[in-house]
């Protein structure tokens, strides 16, 4: 048991140190921002003020904590959308497109069931979003399995195709009359409203269920074992009698379903689909999955961390006058340190024998290869 806990701590130590180093790097940027910002002075305490207001903005009171959880909810799902793929050796950059298609479908189905009882309307709309997301994941999975087209390139291209297609459809076909901007009709009872005077909604429960569910799937079922086997070595999995192609398609569809659910939750919170739906939850999912070392538990914690940053950032911008975009910079720097694990280990004099993040380094290897099977 203790050995097991130790190995978990070993997995978490590099991400934790990467976060620490990233916050240090960001401190330098924040000090510089004080120098070139409107005040034009060097304030060495500014990073502390900024980080303090970031904490207050995300944990300060019950309402703030609720906002933090609501911000983390879609990130857990997009994190799973990328993370479960990593376990199968697939890098799903397509979360962005899957989110859009899932959200759009949820909005359309939501208008159809707008008069049904809320619980039914919400469930139906969320499931529809999941299904649409799964379809958006199925396509690159199928192409990878049967033509060898690498999922990274096809999902990047699909992101653009889906975004253009959906915005075209909202503008030209599903535009609701009577609004000053292009958007779909209201989803009525399918809207995810906050409980009490907080923003906590039903979607949070759906996301929280997905975390243990995917843990169970990956580590306690045959399918999960096959997914991990295909990720570790597709050829070996083939000779062991598994079907790597089928697993790839299944995994990508599952990833798409997670991302589609995330998009559906975000859209049902608005209650409609706007023609310009700019959201970063798709790309944030990449950060969440890498920071969480592609494990469902790790993904939950990193989603909460990133959700806290996103939820607390507006207060930080008001109190410390540090632009909210610093969160994106911190994300990027965390990822650089994570990728350069060796450097982090050298700085803190850690031994390099601890099992690293093996599946994080298998994606590119299949770049030019055709899938066997």
């Amino acid at each position: 048991m203790i050995a097991r806990l130790k190995s978990y701590a070993g997995l978490g130590i590099v991400p934790a140190l990467s976060i620490l180093l990233a916050l240090l790097v960001a401190s330098v940027l924040i000090i510089v921002s004080g120098l070139i910002g409107p005040e034009k002075k060097v304030d060495l305490l500014l990073p502390l003020i900024a980080y303090r207001s970031l904490l207050v903005g995300s944990f300060g009171n019950f309402k703030a904590i609720a906002n933090m959880i609501v911000a983390a909810t879609p990130l857990m799902l997009t994190g799973l959308a990328v993370g479960v793929g990593l376990k199968a050796g697939l890098f799903n950059i397509g979360a962005t497109g899957q989110v859009l298609l899932g959200g759009f479908t949820a909005a359309l189905v939501g208008t159809l069931v707008a008069d049904a009882p809320p619980l039914i309307a919400i469930t139906v709309a969320l499931l529809a979003g999941m299904l649409a997301g799964a379809l958006a994941g199925f396509i690159p999975g199928f192409l990878k399995a049967f033509t060898g087209a690498h999922e990274v390139v096809t999902t990047i291209m699909l992101n653009a195709v889906i975004q253009l297609m959906v915005s075209g459809l909202v503008n030209d076909v599903f535009r609701a009359p009577g609004f000053s901007f292009a958007r779909t009709a209201p989803v009525g009872n399918a809207t995810l409203t906050g409980a009490g005077n907080t923003t906590l909604h039903l979607g949070v429960i759906f996301a929280l269920i997905c975390i243990p569910l995917s843990y169970w799937l990956l580590w306690r079922t045959t399918v999960g074992f096959e997914i991990r086997a295909v990720g570790a070595n597709p050829t070996a999995a083939l000779y062991a009698g598994m079907k790597p192609r089928r697993m790839m398609i299944l995994t990508m569809s599952l990833c798409g379903a997670f991302a589609g659910l995330a998009g559906a939750i975000e859209i049902l919170r608005f209650g409609y689909y706007p023609a310009v739906f700019g959201t970063s939850i798709g790309s944030d999912g990449i950060t969440v999955a890498l920071l969480g070392q592609a494990s469902p538990i790790g993904i939950m914690f990193s989603a909460l961390l990133l959700g806290a940053m996103r939820a607390g950032a507006p207060l930080m911008q008001i109190q410390a006058r540090v632009p909210v975009e610093i969160i994106d910079v911190i994300q990027g720097v965390i990822l650089i340190f994570l990728a350069a694990e060796i450097v982090v280990r050298r700085i803190f004099r850690l031994r390099t024998t601890t099992p690293g993040s093996g599946e994080l380094q298998t994606i590119t290897r299949t770049y030019g290869e055709k899938v066997a099977g």
Partner: protein, 361 residues
Amino acid sequence: MDALLNIPVLGFILQFIVYLVNVIVNGHIAPIILGLATPIALGALCGVMNERSGVVNIGIEGMMLFSAYVAFMTALLVHQAFPAKPSAFFGATPALISGVVAAIAAGVLISLLHAWLSISVRADQIISGTIINITALGLTSYLNRLIKPYDSAGTFKSFRPPEGLVNLPGVGWLFEMFTSVGPIAMSVIVLVIIVQILLFRSRWGLRTRAVGEHPKAADTVGINVIRLRYRNVLIGGVFAGLAGAYLTLEATGSFQNNMTAGRGFIALAAMIFGRWTPVGAFLGALLFMGSQALGVAIRLAPPAGDLGTFLAGIQQAYPSIYNNFFTGLPYLLTIIVLAGVVGRSIPPAADGKPYEKESSS
């Protein structure tokens, strides 16, 4: 001819081809297409340099964006310190030239990060590229919010070719395309040809392709795989830097958040479409951007006859879908080409595989 154009389906296609040729030859859209294709082609050259030597680069978008910002800010600062009148040479000023130099330096610097992560650290190359995209977007948006410049250092000016050359029947449009553009757009064609020749006709090119296809064999005959990969990735950064400089110093004269808007990904698409060759990638970029320019051309001056009525009808009923179709075509074509529906596109064999000398491990 008229009889041919009235055949049901074939006639439709013929009408379209006649229209297409007419638009390109007489429509003055050729320079616009080259302008649109310039950042794509330069980004694709960056990709070719990387992937031919076995390093996957999906961070072209971020490299371009970062260089675009650095180019703009450097040019602005130099412009404020030493204001100068645009010179006769493409309207170049010390500010603009230092902007281009700084953009190239920025492209090389960020490529160094990519090279270090993917060659030395042997991190996953796709993750490295993704990190570059995320970081570049965050950093430039952050800095752009902090320092909101309302000033501009201006842009390079297009060259005015002699009227007689442009009005030559049949080939005038070609002259117009390559001469009535700014200096960076004009240099693209030269760069593409140089890289194409070097890649397939020089010792460096042979070594680069060897390192990209079979690094172990290359190592056995005494090629320093690591050093060659580093050098090529850094040269790739020069092209990404130029692409960034084009966006802020030649095309627009300002910087907006996320102004690359997916051009780095279209560049990736053009590279794949052109099967990892410079000329192919350039033609891919022209084709992709040509389809966008064509969408605009049809809107401004629709073709006559049935075809025109048909297209105008679609455009009337579904303006957004119509526009987005032409914008999205490059992405769709890339998926089709990559999936091998029309001629498969296969990357270099060692693309994406970090190289480790056996003795060192």
